[in-house]
Amino acid sequence: MSGIERTEAGLASRTAAAVGVVGRRNDARLVLAGTTLGYLLLYLYTVGDLALTGDGGVTVFVVDDLSRAFTSLGFFRFEPIALLEAGPITYLFSPLNAIVALVLATLVGVNLALTYLGWVQPKACGLEASSGVFAGIPALLSGAACCGPTVLLVFGIQASGVLITTFQYLVPMAVVLLVGSLLLIGRQVDPALL
């Protein structure tokens, strides 16, 4: 095993140990659950699956052809197969969008929980707080890529071919950044001190 591989294995095992601590501490679990849920809702809102447009009643509608769940609508965006309305909330359920959202949200949640542990552990090691949150931002931006990146209006940028191509990589970019950030934070949390 080369030195680099040993280092990577060390990082991963140390991060895994730190994640294990998250599972054992109520306060860390609370941070994990709260952040995961918050990011999940935020992501679903930015991709347009979740909105406050309900008319107050309860509506459930499921399409006849469930195979549409696999139809791509864009970059890591998939066709919803059910509409759920309850009170002011409208949710378009796309199983694959939900999976993407859950993966991203969990990564953000674990990042935040580890950041929290680094913050409360007895001996601080110069932990860079909240880098995990920022790593999730690209994925939020990807939500605007659906029907013309209207988010660009806010910044006054015209969509070029390069920019549109870049939108394709926002979700995978977010995953890479979140995993990288997780390893970085995990390295700085010492399970022995918790």
Partner: protein, 372 residues
């Protein structure tokens, strides 16, 4: 009744021929072989034989101001893949009472009044689908809408259907036909790629109006149902809002590359545009609201636009003799030589016209005449 008749019912017959006849063409074999109809003579590259029967095309090509190669190179991705914005292929309709349950009086609808069928297509639904493959008066048609250019247009489709390619030209929806996969920018209504390259579709008028105005004039109308076969949040417009105008519709920003920048007016200023054999002419909609009747010249020929306040729209006529037209706003009638006519039924030669955002119109037709 055919779509030609349908077009007449809304006051503007279909495809405008370079001969100025306003003819809607006829069957594909009625027209000259592709490549021999030069229109304004600025495009090329047509094929020698028709690749397929459908979609039916006009006998004459509509004006195209650019070389087709330049247009093809200017096409760009809008983000979604082909059919990522799904057309509605099995539309369901409901009556006005049901329509009132999900439409507000000021919601934008796109109206088509045939002899037998009178239908409204709500903008809040079409913004998610852009194309409805429907049948009106027995004729297979596509009612199309591009949110980024503010254009609602109708085309005959024959036995095929149109779909959303996911590409844009000058910010305008590029459609594809499911028979040959030819690419048709909506405003040009002329294929720029594929077997139908250089051929123009047969068009019919789709009126941009409000739900209240449409059902007042056509109380027997039906309206496209939200049961589209797809799950979308029809209460939310991804680009902004029309009542009141917000977001993209009210912004001076344009999202994608434009073919031409003409800053005489704000980009989203609405014009009633008409293509004529020798060019194009645009009437500012706000000016039409105030003046009622406007006249402009294209290659020395007078064209008259008449406002119809019943639907907040206007109709354009070729008026080579310069016949005087006046409008009585109270009774919504136009008068010629003491005779009264509905604004959509003047005894002049109708020219196909439609609402468009200024930047889009001037992008496709940079030499356009403008009347305000």
């Amino acid at each position: 009744m055919g779509v030609a008749g349908l077009a007449g019912c809304v006051g503007n017959s279909g495809v405008l021929s370079p001969g100025g006849s306003g003819s809607d063409g006829g069957t594909p074999t009625d027209g000259e072989p592709p490549g021999s109809t030069t229109g304004d003579g600025t495009t090329g590259g047509s094929n020698d034989v028709l690749p397929a029967k459908d979609p039916p095309v006009a006998a004459d090509r509509l004006p195209v101001a650019y070389d087709v190669g330049k247009l093809r190179n200017s096409v760009q991705s809008g983000g979604p893949p082909k059919d990522g914005i799904p057309s509605i292929d099995d539309p369901k309709f409901v009556g006005t009472a049901k329509g009132d349950e999900f439409l507000d009086r000021d919601d934008i609808v796109f109206g088509v009044a045939g002899e037998d069928d009178v239908k409204a297509y709500p903008q809040p639904i079409l913004v998610w689908h852009e194309i409805v493959n429907d049948v009106i008066d027995g004729d297979p048609v596509s009612v199309t809408y591009c949110p980024l250019t503010g254009t609602a247009m109708g085309f005959e489709r024959g036995t095929t259907e149109f779909g959303v390619s996911g590409k844009l030209l000058n910010n305008n929806l590029v459609m594809y036909d499911r028979n040959t996969d030819s690419r048709w920018p909506q405003i040009l209504a002329t294929a720029i790629r594929g077997g139908f390259e250089g051929r123009s579709l047969r068009e019919f008028r789709v009126v941009w109006t409000t739900w209240e105005q449409w059902k007042s004039l056509h109380p027997d109308t039906v309206v496209l149902s939200k049961k589209t076969g797809h799950v979308r949040n029809y209460e939310r417009d991804p680009y902004g809002m029309y009542t009141p105008k917000r977001g993209y519709y009210n912004s001076t920003k344009i999202l994608f590359h434009t073919l031409n920048d003409d800053d005489r007016y704000k980009p989203k200023t609405v014009v009633i545009g008409a293509r004529v054999p020798d060019g194009a002419i645009a009437f500012l909609k706000e000016s039409l609201r105030k003046a009622g009747v406007l006249e402009g010249q294209v290659a020395g020929v007078t064209h008259t636009a008449v406002y119809d306040d019943r639907l907040d729209t206007a109709y354009v006529y070729r008026n080579p003799d310069g016949v005087s037209v006046s409008l009585d706003g109270e009774s919504a009638t136009a008068t010629i030589d003491g005779e009264s006519y509905a604004p959509d039924a003047l005894p002049l030669e109708p020219v196909h016209a439609f609402d468009a955002m200024w930047f889009a119109w001037s992008g496709f037709y940079p030499e356009t005449e403008v009347v305000e």
